[in-house]
């Protein structure tokens, strides 16, 4: 069984049933998950920040890092596996985007990430069917490609599915 481990700003996809696609310790980062039932392909991007305009060079080098560049990059990656280029028919799920308890809004990057991702998804006519976003704990997330099943974990909590 293969494990595709994605770091911050990485994205990847697989259609090999033996694979897991996994990312560790999402804090305010958001994991965007695309499942394509037709080709049985699973993809994920580990998005750190909402907007690539703060550093275009970084966006060129690591498109998965920003919401606005991650989604096109992940779609292009999945198209290599025969998935629809604009994400038609894909199942979208989101998780992560935790926030520290801040009474003014500045530190709510998790919230801003999730919002930016949803906006871009809308522009493709896509929307999440399931999400586990926000709150104040970190999440590790893993997709088993064969079952299309998403498992989340966080220390001190029993694992759960999305």
């Amino acid at each position: 069984m293969g494990q595709i481990i994605l770091g911050v700003g990485d994205y990847g996809a697989s259609n090999s049933p033996a694979d897991d696609v996994k990312t560790f310790a999402l804090g305010s980062c958001v994991s965007v998950i695309f499942l394509d039932p037709k080709t049985r392909t699973a993809g994920m991007a580990h998005v750190a920040l909402p907007d690539s305009s703060i550093n275009k060079a970084k966006a060129g080098e690591k498109p998965g890092y920003f919401a606005d560049t991650a989604i096109p990059a992940l779609l292009a990656q999945m198209a290599k596996f025969g998935c629809d280029k604009r994400g038609k028919g894909m199942v979208v799920k989101l998780c992560g985007g935790a926030n520290v308890m801040d009474s003014n809004d500045t530190f709510q990057i998790g919230k801003r990430n999730a919002l930016a991702i949803k906006k871009i998804l809308w522009s493709y006519g896509m929307g999440a069917v399931a999400e586990d976003l926000g709150k104040n704990f970190s999440r590790t997330v893993s997709i088993s490609v064969s079952a299309g099943q998403i498992t989340l974990s966080s220390p001190g909590k029993p694992n759960w599915q999305l």
Partner: protein, 292 residues
Amino acid sequence: MVKQLNQEELQKVVNSVPMLSPSASQLIQITSQADHDLMDVIDLVRTDASLTARVLKIVNSAAFGLINTITSIDRAISYLGERIIVGIAVGDSAGKLFEKELSGYESAGGDLWKHDLRTAIAAREVVTQSGVDISSELAFTAGLLHDIGKSIISDYLHGSVTDAVEMITTDEDLDYLDAEEKLVGFDHTRAGYELARAWKLPEELAEVILHHHEPINAKEEYRALVYAVHLGDNIAMMGGFGTGSDSMRYKLDPEYTHYINIGPKTLASIMLNVDIEFEKLESSFTGSGDEN
């Protein structure tokens, strides 16, 4: 089973922690003084042959991508900046403490060092990007040391993670500090403060360690520094580099706005720089002081 500690036992544990090396200790002392000179740092490093060798090895490592090899310690220190020198010395001398597995937080060996390094980088970025008038180099050192208390109480918290998480999930007024205190009698800031005193760290660093989750309680003269580390700590956790079960489970002290001017754009830029800088530094020095 979780075991409660009393003051005397805490003191005993603290006293069993090895002292910092003389070079690390003196470097911290010197660089904490507002009016120190880089020459003082250079002179001190020169007296320590193994530290000198490490500094030269790191400055010439692939991470810094220098075209010409640096062979003089003066140039190496000017190039790296004193914060990196302090980082190397602390990592080499207290590596075991920073690298140890924090079983009480279900956090793997090495996580604490990474979290501390991220906090150090973030605290420095907070200072430089917000323009607050404190030493960015000192913010880095303070960030590196802020969580030393975790390695002291972690063994005592062994097996407590589910209880701790449940405690603060059911009562939203509580954060992980409250859970630590209820479970073992002391939280990690208090344990770290005791170690800071045993190590005779300068007062401002001891204040950071004690108050990094509620800077409002720090002495006014050090408060901006404590806030910088407080924000750096939260930025490290937000970026996915916490120490297991407590990650993100603290309150942000809202009064930071009176000391540090940061908006959403600046914060995004800080987070990005932390990722870039961390990648560079992580590969060049490790807490254990092992080969890299």
